[in-house]
């Protein structure tokens, strides 16, 4: 699965984008976050404030209980500050 990061989430993870093979046990966005936190210190730091993270699946906003399903791309980012 292709994973993209933006703003301070991107800075903390240290990459804009990465492709990760998902263990079969991962069904939801929340499962994925739990998995990503175990990868290394950077990921753990990025997802430390889990409540502050917003998620998009295939470029649509979703909540963390959303099923990953057939999504090709998941993105993690802070609350938006455009306008």
């Amino acid at each position: 699965m292709n994973i993209r990061y933006f703003a301070w989430v991107r800075e903390r993870v240290g990459v804009e984008e990465e492709t990760i093979e998902l263990p079969a046990s991962i069904a939801t966005v929340a499962d994925l976050i739990t998995h990503l936190k175990t990868l290394d210190d950077n990921h753990a730091a990025a997802f430390e404030e889990e409540d502050a993270i917003r998620v998009a699946l295939d470029q649509m906003h979703v909540e963390t209980d959303a099923a990953l399903g057939d999504a090709r791309e998941v993105a993690f980012f802070p609350p938006m500050t455009g306008g």
Binding site: R4, F6, A7, W8, A56, Q59, M60, H61, A75, F77, P78, P79, M80, T81, G82, G83
Partner: protein
């Protein structure tokens, strides 16, 4: 049949006059044109520039979803949303919303709705570059913006 909104995400500046004309020229049914321009301000001299990061693809898609919601909700004759990305210095434009309608109420409300929703849902993030130099800080989302957006639900 609702109109098709014009949505653009771009690094270059926009021309308010040209964009306004696009919604009125050659028409006789437009009675109200509401324009909102958001600019970068210098925060009392402390800010050198804003860096606008965006999610290419989703930024356009989400702005289009919000604009389509607006044209479904209000009887508009035209709607334009332009959001810039990249480095923007104080005094320069960030965002433009233009709502055209036969009557003012729809145009005012649609523009207000779009700005409220755009601030909380469009994938853009601002980083502040301080005037005194050094590394910038990400602008934090405001609770007030969530409350503003909740007015329309």
């Amino acid at each position: 049949m609702p109109v098709t909104p014009l949505v653009r995400v771009q690094s270059e500046d926009f021309d308010l006059q040209a964009e306004s004309l696009r919604l009125t020229q050659g028409r006789r049914d437009v009675g109200a044109l509401v324009t909102f321009t958001g600019l970068c301000r210098d925060e009392a001299g402390t800010l050198a520039a804003l860096e606008l990061e965006h999610y290419p693809g989703m930024a356009e898609a989400e702005l289009t979803r919000l604009a389509e919601e607006a044209v479904a909700r209000w009887p508009l004759t035209g709607l334009t949303v332009i959001h810039r990305f990249g480095k923007i210095v104080p005094g320069h434009n960030i965002v433009l919303v233009i709502a055209a309608s036969s009557h003012r109420r729809a145009a005012f409300e649609a523009a207000d709705f779009l700005m409220d929703y755009l601030k909380t849902r469009a994938p853009f993030w601002k980083k502040e570059h301080p005037a005194e130099g050094g590394s910038g800080a990400w602008v934090e989302a405001k609770t007030a913006d969530d409350k503003d957006a909740a007015r329309w639900t």
